[in-house]
């Protein structure tokens, strides 16, 4: 595949970088990134990845756009209220860059579809807002051997970590199991400064681009915590946990766990 004149102009600021060049831009155009959640994190991630000329972006989200989303979910505009987030996001990405193939999935990521979907992509982005889904993504990426860029936000705080299976600490190396339901507040309950989602999402997108281009050092074995109140980043060194139930030598998890089930039964 060779670039058209317009594409060379569009990506010229990438191509100028010796670490990227035409070769790197081609890698980006052949890459497939799966973004789980088209919300606070997923929007900035997918927006920048679309601008960067990522060949295929997969977007999975079962929600529709709500007025209260617009303070931070920058791919959704006021006329999109009530429309599926995956479709709304796809339209904006393709308006920005028609080169990008956007696959949309208007469903939830579950133990049934997670591995099959993730296996079709090169890099996965965690942009979900609940712990069962964060553990599901972590486990599915490990089992499918796909790099994952984890992200989390709450109030004035944000966190990012890149996970390369079998090379770096996974989410379960740090957090063994999801917290009991209801004890950790969500953004919906506790609030979030909208732009914190942008800061963390753009760092996640940066990590994805670096993983695809194989440049620099990924944010592996390091948990990057951001505090908007003080505008301070803190890096916490982590390492693979020998007692990790997913990636440790005596791992017990060999298939996906449905943490949602008790809640579903309660309905």
């Amino acid at each position: 595949m060779s670039f058209t004149e317009d594409q060379i102009t569009r990506y010229s600021r990438h191509i100028l970088l010796p670490e990227v060049g035409g070769k790197g831009q081609k890698k980006l155009s052949q890459a497939k990134v799966f973004v789980v959640g088209a919300g606070g994190l997923g929007c900035p991630v997918a927006y920048y990845l679309g601008a960067a000329g990522i060949g295929t972006i997969g977007l999975i989200d079962s929600d529709v756009v709500d007025l209260s989303n617009l303070q931070r979910q920058i791919l959704h505009h006021t006329p999109d209220i009530g429309r599926p987030k995956a479709i709304s996001a796809k339209e904006k990405i393709q308006a920005l860059n028609p080169d990008v193939q956007v696959n949309t999935y208007e469903e939830r990521l579950t133990t049934k579809n997670a591995r099959e979907l993730i296996s079709q992509y090169d890099v996965v982005i965690d942009g979900v807002d609940n712990f069962p889904a964060k553990f599901l993504i972590n486990d599915a990426c490990y089992l499918e051997n796909k790099p994952l860029v984890h992200g989390g936000i709450l109030k004035f705080d944000g966190r990012v970590m890149t996970i390369v299976p079998n090379e770096s600490a996974c989410y379960r190396c740090i957090f063994k199991n999801p917290p009991p339901p209801g004890v950790v507040p969500t953004c919906q309950e506790a609030g979030i400064i909208g732009v914190v989602a942008g800061i963390i999402g753009t760092i996640q997108a940066t990590e994805a681009v670096k993983l695809i281009l194989k440049i620099g050092q990924p944010l592996t074995n390091r948990l990057l915590d951001f505090d908007a109140r003080t505008t301070a980043f803190r890096e916490i060194r982590v390492k693979r946990n020998p007692s990790c139930t997913l990636c440790g030598p005596n791992a017990s998890i060999t298939e996906l766990i449905d943490y949602d089930e008790p809640e579903a039964c309660a309905l």
Binding site: G37, G39, G40, G42, D63, G127, I153, L154, L223, R237
Partner: protein
């Protein structure tokens, strides 16, 4: 003893990790604890002794994204 907790130096009268959690009124269910870059299993918090100048990281769950 003197400890560094989440990057800040503090003087606490404690002997185990669990003592620190109690002193700070932190629910052990809500935090992952690292001592000098080793993750401490929840069941070992009460038997993990601390020494002068240990570095502790309390990593709280951060679940938002949407």
């Amino acid at each position: 003893m003197q400890l560094t907790i989440n990057g800040k130096v503090e003087n606490l009268d404690v002997s185990t990790v669990m003592d620190v959690l109690k002193a700070k009124d932190i629910d052990p269910q809500l935090v992952a604890v690292e001592v000098n870059t080793d993750m401490i299993d929840q069941e070992n918090l009460g038997v993990t002794s601390l020494k002068e100048n240990d570095k502790l990281e309390f990593l709280f769950f951060m679940g938002g994204g949407a």
